[in-house]
Symmetry: D2
Subunit: 355 residues, 4 copies
């Protein structure tokens, strides 16, 4: 079907165009490649660059109604002009200055926060004040009102993850403004959601209806750290506990179902022992990682990147990735895996295996 | 946050750009509108225009390995340059000339065919020859080899529906070439899949494992027509059977689960009695309709379009639509509703109701 | 713990008894045998005996309010005094004389009818008249009002299956009287439920909510026979279709889920080619079979029983059974398998395999 | 159908009997009552009676292979001769003397232990030693090897709950002897199962496959107590948290699904504030309660019973029950609710409501 176009074919193509039609045969390879060929590229953002830029934004840009959040999005170099880490994932550094408040709003987009460092901010989710501290993973599932306020005289920055690119592309998003101030300035150590739900294996009888998203607003670092520590100790004792040798990992889950915390987003925490290398793999769907602690390397489609605390990288669909830990290496990861799995597009390929 | 940018802010924005960062606050309204604001627009394509163009393509463009299919895609005027009916849906007229064969291939994209008119083509799905005739709805779920061949000396055209735009955007697609000729040129009246599976309420003991997609390769017109006819007769008898007064409808389903035929695509057939009007509604997610028989109108965001047999129209997300039947009005519909429902983005709003 | 009881121990056992206590150690083997040791025994009932007894009952015993049904239950010889085919299953011959009506009632027990021979009776289920004819399988899920009436001047008999023993044992049953006459004496060929639901792979849009039991009131013989015929033809063509060589089988299912027709009862139809033997197996849970047509043998824990049309046999839990067809051999089967599977007690063992 | 039997009818009934048939019409009211009419009766057993009897058994009856366990079952007075608390539930006091070992075995019956008082025993479940201490709830799901050993020189007694009556009745049980001694005499504070699984909202990546029963071997009192305490504090703060005013409650769940810990058994812990009365209700299915702490009353079908620590009572199906707390009142409850719900026999009726 390639080759010279005669005049009749040219005319046909013009007629197609004027009638809002496009032939498949001229586009097939692009539309339906042999394996995913993402426009998004693997990329690393350095915390040492990001944080000072966020601080400068803190000095120059007010936070308030309209702009809503002082959030600076990782913009994949392969998706020019778009504030997207990948076609499905939004990842941003949000920065809140001393005593600032980010006003309340709600949207159908699902959101979480992961806290690399700092403390002193509370996020208020449907009226429930949730403390944000180092290592915590916090949820704002779709259509819950939420705002943030900083109680201290130090700024605080954290990672925001959302499904904005996905819901923008699929035209699925709704948005609504809420109160200009947060609805509750209390600063409890634990949110009400945790007091009700964060007891292992225990479900309140007042909460027997399964929910699409997790009712736990905050997954605390002390629990995550304990779970990972125990996995490695069990491995030391010769017991099955880790995903692979030297690699402990937990998934954050919805206690009403045992499944992902939100319908579109998966979140996990990984810990590699010093010296551990995990073999290269490709997966359908994209992920963003942030180094929480330690140093190591990621190999992204053959290119080695050294990583330090706070560094972020994105792995687009079907890009090969592997990790190596120079010292104990703790990484937070989030991805669009629930989308791929629920729609049955998930695939994984470990290098060295036959496809 | 609006207003003049000072030089420092300009410099910050430049630094953002060079570090592959984009601030949220300058983009929020676009990214997260109050309600979905699709780039795709409502649009009608006329069968009387489409079919002659397809025939001209049949004369000028060979079908074969490489281009694979003589398929002409509806290209939404709001998504310029892209052969997409909507951000998630592909809809194309496929045309196969007398005695032609479209070679075998497979892909992770899910596909179906709906036959407006004609007969004499068999599609061969993983080795099972499936007759294609007027009114039939035929499945090619992801990763099944399939090719088509026309046994007659008349051309045949039909509607292809796929999730190509969705899997392209999310980088989820794999593709593999198969045999250049179809693997079985038999022309049975019923496919093996139908002989095994298309018995109402009966499941073969050899097929007790649930499958992600329906094992039925063809949903025959005679069954669809009978189901709709009975719904209207039951309504005449005062029995609950129709969706709303004068409006009979069936969903094509996977008999192993009772759910949608494929993980990303919903397909339905609707019949309106003469004179029936169904009230306007907005839904999250997009749909494509094809008039199978009869005449009527669709109102798309306030604009009335008269429709005849074969006409197609697309309803982007949250665009208001309603139907009116001038005579008995039969419409095939497909949509991305399973995506929206599985990811919990589904919403519907009936006009006149409070949101 | 065995051996002589001293006086102190005797006193202890007396004290246990007076305080409503029983020690485990004296009962363990009985309570918790190595493999199921059912009190129920394998047994065959002959149609040639059953039917004349039913006819005599038809002459001597009226049908009407109070006794409700002229049903004669298979009483397992191992469960003396109880009208139970097995601890979970009720199986009875119901007999309705010319022009008789069995009054309406409802109960939480799930029920079905299977028609060995005859026609002319309609069962009215929540107001929907359902024709009963040879080979049909008919549902009365829990808590639906139902009555029967015979329109002809010939009697008719059929098999009733229910979960009466199970719900009696677990104290789960409710009962309510309805109208003394059936609420609708119409005699349509198809019930409304079939007209709405019995179209292969098609689901009415008015019925999108999944139901615990199948909405199809009658599974017609013509469909069952066609499905089995096709499986054997496909096997002849070298295609996978039968459960095992020479053995075609279908399960009656709920089209809203693809699962069993009712929460406690599984129903299937099996066809063996002439000469086919299926290997011996043991299963947790009990079954009742009725020969619909043809002749053959069943081997029950090593004892061979020859079987003719209409003969019934029960297979208690973990009793070994196998079948041999002397000629084409059609059998209806029902069981408590959904109970065992939903509670995860299901196990199967094929003889010759290691346990 | 009642009244005098003529000679012909007598002969018919004799023929029924000799052919292993029983008519429905003579038995209907018994078999299918209007509401459940359990043979089991409501009954209270006193800890002050039970415990001394268990101690005497400890002196007189050895524990070891054959008898397997020194367990004394609550035998419902309405089910004479059977060691059953209800038709579905087994409840027993198990007593283990100083330094004793109960040998390992496994069975398909599901089991748990609840510890009213004491400590110093470890139960070893599939090789994982699990500490037993006051207030803990411990699981032995079906087909896991388990044995117990007492490390101390004091005896210990606890409550065992199983589905023995149910699996005996339905002939679903398998049993296998294991080691005569437990396979691991280690006495860790936490079992490996807890170290891997008992972190709130965190799922190990090595455990992504859902399991029929909970992988958590021990639900510790400190978590149960904290969850209940928080519910009452939240209620004090005006927040929704308790089931009803003054009544905090948690269900023990399987973290892989959010559902019941085992397929046949539900377990919950309830705390009533001093003075709280919960309204009378009837439920399908049976329950056993044990008072963990505090004093109060239960009203069982109108009869008031005062309760102290350790007292147990059984509520058969559809027996009305209500509770009143004289002081803070803590109760452990287990039931067959998963059986009723999975088979769709569950119903509840609150007194004062119309049925």
């Amino acid at each position: 079907m390639a080759g010279e176009e005669g005049p009749e074919l040219s005319r046909l193509y013009q007629d197609f165009e004027s009638e809002h039609l496009i032939p498949l045969w001229t586009q097939l390879g692009d539309l339906m490649p042999m394996t995913p060929r993402p426009a998004a590229v693997a990329h690393v953002w350095r915390w040492s660059t990001l944080y000072p830029l966020a601080r400068r934004a803190g000095e120059l840009v007010p936070v308030g109604r309209g702009g809503e959040r002082r959030a600076i999005a990782l913009a994949n170099p392969g998706l020019p002009g778009r504030p997207y880490a990948s076609p499905t994932l939004w990842a941003a550094i949000q920065y809140l200055g001393p005593k600032e408040t980010a006003p309340e709003h709600r949207h159908s987009q699902n959101a979480f926060r992961f806290v690399l460092e700092g403390e002193g901010v509370w996020t208020v989710v449907d009226g429930d004040p949730v403390r944000m501290s180092r290592g915590d993973f916090l949820l704002t599932p779709g259509w819950r009102f939420h705002g943030h306020h900083n109680e201290t005289d130090r700024p605080m920055a954290w990672l925001d993850g959302l499904d904005i690119p996905f819901s923008h592309y699929t035209d699925a998003g709704f948005f609504e403004f809420g109160a200009d101030r947060v609805t509750d300035y209390a600063t409890p150590n634990l949110s009400r959601s945790e007091r009700l739900w964060a007891h292992p294996g225990l479900r309140p009888l007042s909460g027997l209806r399964d929910t699409a998203s997790s009712p736990i607003a905050a997954y605390r670092w002390e629990h995550t750290d304990a779970a990972l520590t125990e996995q490695l100790l069990l491995e030391d004792e010769g017991q099955p506990a880790t995903v692979e040798q030297g690699h402990a990992a937990v998934r954050y889950v919805n206690p009403t179902t045992g499944g992902d915390v939100m319908p579109t987003l998966r979140a996990e925490f990984h810990r590699l022992r010093e010296g551990t290398e995990i073999p290269a793999r490709r997966e359908v769907g994209s992920s963003v990682f942030q180094v929480f602690e330690g140093r190591g390397e990621v190999v992204l489609d053959g290119t080695v990147h050294r990583l330090c605390q706070g560094d972020l990288f994105v792995v687009p669909s079907w890009v090969s990735w592997s990790l190596r830990a120079e010292e104990r290496f703790d990484l937070f990861r989030f991805s669009d895996a629930p989308i791929m799995e629920r729609l049955r597009f998930d695939r994984v390929h470990f290098e060295g295996e036959r496809r």
